[in-house]
Structure formats: structure tokens, C-alpha cells
């Protein structure tokens, strides 16, 4: 009876996962979709605990509730407290936990199998070739272990990179080959262990389960090797990929226990996550291969671009304040630099000040501005910028013609005209914000150095363009102060 109700809980869980994911794909229903998923998860978890059939000691329940309570408190607090800009780190961290969880399950199940009476019989039979433990069990256990571990160690590295702790991509010589070799060894060992039952005989003919630790170590190492050569800026893609790995690991867990909710949840995330990874790559005009095998993920690309440049112009804060104060329409183009400088609050202040003086202000949001999808939306939302002030690329482009001042804050690639004019440029073909149609272009950045794609930007040499050098937060604070003294 209990068992039947549990099956229904799992069915409900599976359906809510599908519907939740579906709803999360649409801005209007996204939040509700997340709730729906959370509801299904709660049902599945509570069902697993309370509809369990068979005697279980109170201490075990105590441990389970303790772990859940502890995890809930820590998870909730961390998720609530973290700064908006640190979201990707956090997602990466939580993903790693899921992977570790899957790996631990495999480890425990293997140990259980190894220590119980059963394998001793089996072992003898295996040596004489009479019996082999079920392949399904072994595949599920070992694959769950390997994939979960890769996801765990990879996520930790991704976390450290996003965190800034490990900011340069570390590339061992011939790292692509090394990685491939480690990968092959790992899966070779996995295949061998499935074939042999995972237990070897030591020299004194005692069975030993040691090999699983070798497999674990290899998988952990591969996760690290896989992630370290990739530039920090490519991390969102990598996290998305590791995300789908964890989904796969969860699915193997479902296979192990013939548990349908783990299977649907895991496979769903595995396939949806893989597709999402590909979509994300496309949105930045890169291929998944070039992200993983490192075409320009951070710093390698040569500074290309034509040589004929011209001269650049500076603008003083006082002149800029005057210019903006007497404009009719100002469009702000936020980019990665705004996020780094944490200048989202001061830019909102600037916006309010200008609006007060009758200047129309809008934000032009490029789909891949910043370092993760929706980065600018999340960032500006944090500082309470109204949602309808954020205009998407295709809608704002025709408006630049009537714009008096475009203020570019810490953005570079997303306004680089080379994407339209220079077929040899690595970003050629990416749609850009066509800021050069505006009457005045002001660029705020700290220096003339390149952005993510590592290429020069001819926009800065445009006669209509003036540079307003400095850290975004500092420079904008000065600008606001200057504006306040006017009037």
C-alpha cells in the first residue's frame, strides 16, 4: 500500500519536473515553474522517507533529518545571502554537491556489495567463470561514480575560477592530449571493472575492492584537468555542461535503484542541460569544441584587427556632465566592466538624476554582454532599475539614430564594429549594438586593453567617440557628483 502511494509520489515528481522546466523557459511563468519543480522535489523526498516499508532505527531517521536540516539551513542562507553577481559561483558549487552526492552513493553501494556475503560466493564463481554479478548494477555504480566525481571536481575548479582565486587558465603542455589520455584510462578502467566485477585478488589471493578508489581518483583528476585550461569567461558554458553531467549521474542512480523519479529528473537535466550548453555557445558565437579545447577562452587570441587606426579623444568629467545634462536622449550600454566594478548602483543613480532633469534614459542590453547569459539583467535588476528601461538589442538598434549620447560602460566586444565589417575577425557575424549611429559616443573603461575576445575595437577611433577613462564605479561616481553641482 505504502509502496503504491510512493510510486504515485514519484510519478507526480516526474511530471512536475517536466512542467517546471517547461515553465522556466518562459519569462512570465519562470518563477512559478521553479516553485512547481521544488514542490515535486519535496513530495519525492518526503515520500521516500515516510512511505518507506520496513524497520528502520530511530538513529538513522535522526541522521537523515539532521543532514536535511543542516543542508537546508546552510543552503538557504548561502543562497539568500550571496551577492547577485556571485550567482554563477554558487550554481557551480551546488552542482558540485550533487555530483559528490551521486559519487558517494556509488561508493557506499559498492562497498556494501563488496562486504556482504554475496560477493564472496560470487567471487569464487567469477574466478571459475560460473557467475558474474549483473552488468546493469556494475555499470550504474561505476558510471555514477565516475560522472559524479568529474562533475564534483570540475565544479570546484569552476568555482575557484569564477571566484577569482584561480584567474588564469592553466595549460599544461599538450594539455589536450594529456586530458584525452586520462579520459581513456578512466573509461578503460571502468570498462575493465564492469567486466571483472570490480574486485581483484591481491598477491595473497585475498579479494580486494581497492580498484574503485583508483577509479575515483582518476575521475576526480580528470574533472580538474578538464576544467583548468578553460578561461574564466567560458565558465558559464562549462558549468552548464557539468550540470548535465550531474544529471546523468543522478540518472545512473535511478537506474541502480530502478527509481523512476531519479531517472526522469536525471535524464531530463542531462538532455536539457546539454541542449542549453549548445544554445549558450551559439549565443556567444562559439562552438562547444572551441570552448573545451580552448580556441580563445581568455587570453590566447592575438590582438588582430587592421593597423590603420587614428587618434583617440579624451573627455573630461565636467564636459561630459554638461553634454549629458543638455541631451534629450541617453542610451547606456552596460558590459562586463560594469559588473566587475560593481557600478550597477551608481549607474542607476545617474539614470535617476538624468531622468529628473528631463533626459530620457534607456539601457541597451546585448544578449551576451557580461560573462553569463542575462548577466546585465540580473545586475541592473539588483540595483532596482525598472525592467522596461532595459531594451533588447534588436529593439534598441533602430533608436540609436535619435540618440544624443551613448554611454558605454565597461563594454567592448558587444559594440565592436569589426563584427560587421571585418570578416577575418573572430567575432565576425555576431550581431552588435550599432552605437555608431548615435550623435555622441562616450566609452568608459580603464585603458585601451581589449575585452573578452582579445581584439582591438576601431569604434574608439571614431571621430564621434570620446574616451572617459577610469574604473567604472569611480568614474561614474565622479560624473554623478559633477552633475549634482550643476543646475
Amino acid at each position: 500500500m505504502k509502496h503504491n502511494i510512493l510510486e504515485i509520489c514519484y510519478l507526480i515528481g516526474s511530471v512536475t519536473f517536466i512542467m517546471g522546466l517547461k515553465m522556466m523557459g518562459n519569462a512570465k511563468t519562470a518563477r512559478k515553474g521553479n516553485m512547481v519543480g521544488a514542490l515535486g522535489m519535496t513530495i519525492a523526498i518526503l515520500g521516500t522517507i515516510f512511505l518507506h516499508e520496513g524497520e528502520v532505527s530511530g538513529m538513522i531517521y535522526g541522521l537523515i533529518f539532521g543532514a536535511i536540516a543542516l543542508g537546508t539551513i546552510i543552503g538557504w542562507m548561502t543562497a539568500k545571502k550571496v551577492q547577485m553577481t556571485k550567482m554563477p559561483e554558487l550554481v557551480s558549487m551546488f552542482n558540485g554537491m550533487g555530483g559528490a552526492c551521486a559519487a558517494l552513493i556509488s561508493l557506499i553501494e559498492f562497498n556494501h556489495y563488496y562486504h556482504s556475503e554475496f560477493p564472496k560466493v560470487v567471487l569464487n564463481a567469477a574466478i571459475t567463470g560460473a557467475y558474474h554479478p549483473p552488468y546493469g548494477f556494475l555499470i550504474a555504480v561505476f558510471a555514477g561514480l565516475v560522472i559524479g566525481s568529474i562533475s564534483f571536481s570540475g565544479s570546484v575548479i569552476a568555482f575557484l575560477k569564477l571566484n577569482g582565486t584561480m584567474d588564469k587558465p592553466i595549460r599544461l603542455p599538450a594539455y589536450n592530449i594529456v586530458n584525452l589520455v586520462v579520459l581513456i584510462i578512466t573509461f578503460g578502467l571502468l570498462a575493465f571493472m564492469v567486466y571483472s566485477g570490480g574486485i581483484i585478488l591481491t598477491n595473497d589471493l585475498q579479494p580486494s575492492g581497492i580498484m574503485i578508489y583508483a577509479l575515483l581518483a582518476l575521475a576526480l583528476i580528470y574533472g580538474i584537468l578538464f576544467t583548468i585550461p578553460i578561461g574564466g569567461a567560458d565558465m558559464p558554458v562549462v558549468i552548464s555542461l557539468l550540470n548535465s553531467f550531474t544529471g546523468l549521474a543522478a540518472a545512473f542512480g535511478g537506474f541502480l535503484y530502478d527509481n523512476k523519479v531519479m531517472l526522469t529528473g536525471g535524464i531530463l537535466v542531462g538532455s536539457a542541460g546539454t541542449l542549453l550548453t549548445v544554445i549558450m555557445c551559439k549565443a556567444m558565437n562559439r562552438s562547444l569544441g572551441s570552448v573545451i579545447f580552448g580556441a580563445f577562452g581568455g587570453s590566447t587570441a592575438a590582438a588582430g584587427g587592421p593597423d590603420v587606426k587614428g587618434s583617440i579623444k579624451d573627455i573630461q568629467v565636467s564636459d561630459l556632465a554638461v553634454l549629458m545634462n543638455y541631451s534629450k536622449k541617453v542610451v547606456i550600454v552596460p558590459g562586463y566592466g560594469l559588473a566587475v566594478a560593481q557600478a550597477q548602483h551608481v549607474i542607476h543613480e545617474l539614470e535617476l538624476l538624468l531622468e529628473e532633469r528631463g533626459v530620457e534614459v534607456k539601457y541597451a542590453i546585448h544578449p551576451v554582454a557580461g560573462r553569463m547569459p542575462g548577466h546585465m539583467n540580473v545586475l541592473l535588476a539588483e540595483s532596482n532599475v525598472s525592467y522596461d528601461k532595459l531594451v533588447e538589442m534588436d529593439d534598441i538598434n533602430p533608436e540609436f539614430e535619435q540618440t544624443d549620447v551613448v554611454l558605454i560602460v565597461g563594454a567592448n566586444d558587444v559594440v565592436n564594429p569589426a563584427a560587421k565589417t571585418d570578416p577575418s575577425s573572430p567575432i565576425y557575424g555576431m550581431p552588435i549594438l550599432e552605437v555608431d549611429r548615435a550623435k555622441n559616443i562616450i566609452v568608459n573603461k580603464r585603458s585601451m586593453s581589449a575585452g573578452y575576445a582579445g581584439i582591438d575595437n576601431l569604434l574608439f577611433y571614431d571621430p564621434k567617440c570620446s574616451m572617459f577613462f577610469g574604473d567604472a564605479k569611480k568614474a561614474l561616481t565622479e560624473l554623478v557628483a559633477e552633475l549634482k553641482t550643476m543646475e
Binding site: N34, M41, T48, A79, F94, T246, I279, G374, A381, Y387
Partner: protein
């Protein structure tokens, strides 16, 4: 060859299940707008936290004297919970930001 064929035939329920789930996963994501990529990734991240069900299952079946099992199981449940709770809460926070007028 023969073994593979009979393996497929024996596990056909599971294979259909996996194939259909993969299609659902792919279809459900199709056409998602760029701004939702990060929250969607984060939401999917929370969903694979369902692995916690396996961790609980392990705990419910572990022997009382298997201290290693108990310890690792406790850790697994803890990590799974972190994944689930943290994942859903952080996703909600992100999406809350989007809605704000």
C-alpha cells in the same frame, strides 16, 4: 551481436523511457530566450538534486554497524540537500529580480 540484440529487447521498456525522456528534455528547452539561460541552468541544477532520493534510500538500508556507510550516507544526504535547497532558492532569487518592475 546477438547479446546486444537481446539486451535491447529485454530492456525495451527502459530504452523507450530513456529515449522519450531525452526528447522531452530537449523539446522543453527549445526556444528559451537568452536572458533566461542562467536561471534555467540554475533550475535544472536544482532538479538533478533529486539524487538525494538515492542518498536517503542508502541511509534507510545501511546496517547500523557500518560506520563508514553511515558517515558517507550522512554526507551524501547533506550534499544532496544543499544541491536541492540551494538550487531552488537561488533560482527563485534570480527570477524574482527579473520580475521586479
Amino acid at each position: 551481436m546477438r547479446e546486444i540484440l537481446s539486451f535491447i529487447s529485454e530492456n525495451r521498456e527502459m530504452i523507450y523511457f530513456v529515449v522519450l525522456s531525452i526528447f522531452v528534455g530537449i523539446e522543453v528547452i527549445g526556444g528559451v530566450p537568452t536572458v533566461l539561460h542562467t536561471p534555467l541552468m540554475s533550475g535544472a541544477n536544482a532538479i538533478h538534486g533529486v539524487v538525494i532520493v538515492g542518498a536517503i534510500y542508502v541511509m534507510l538500508h545501511v546496517e547500523m554497524d557500518n560506520y563508514l556507510g553511515l558517515g558517507l550516507g550522512f554526507l551524501a544526504v547533506l550534499l544532496g540537500t544543499l544541491n536541492v535547497v540551494g538550487g531552488f532558492v537561488v533560482t527563485d532569487r534570480m527570477l524574482e529580480m527579473f520580475k521586479k518592475k
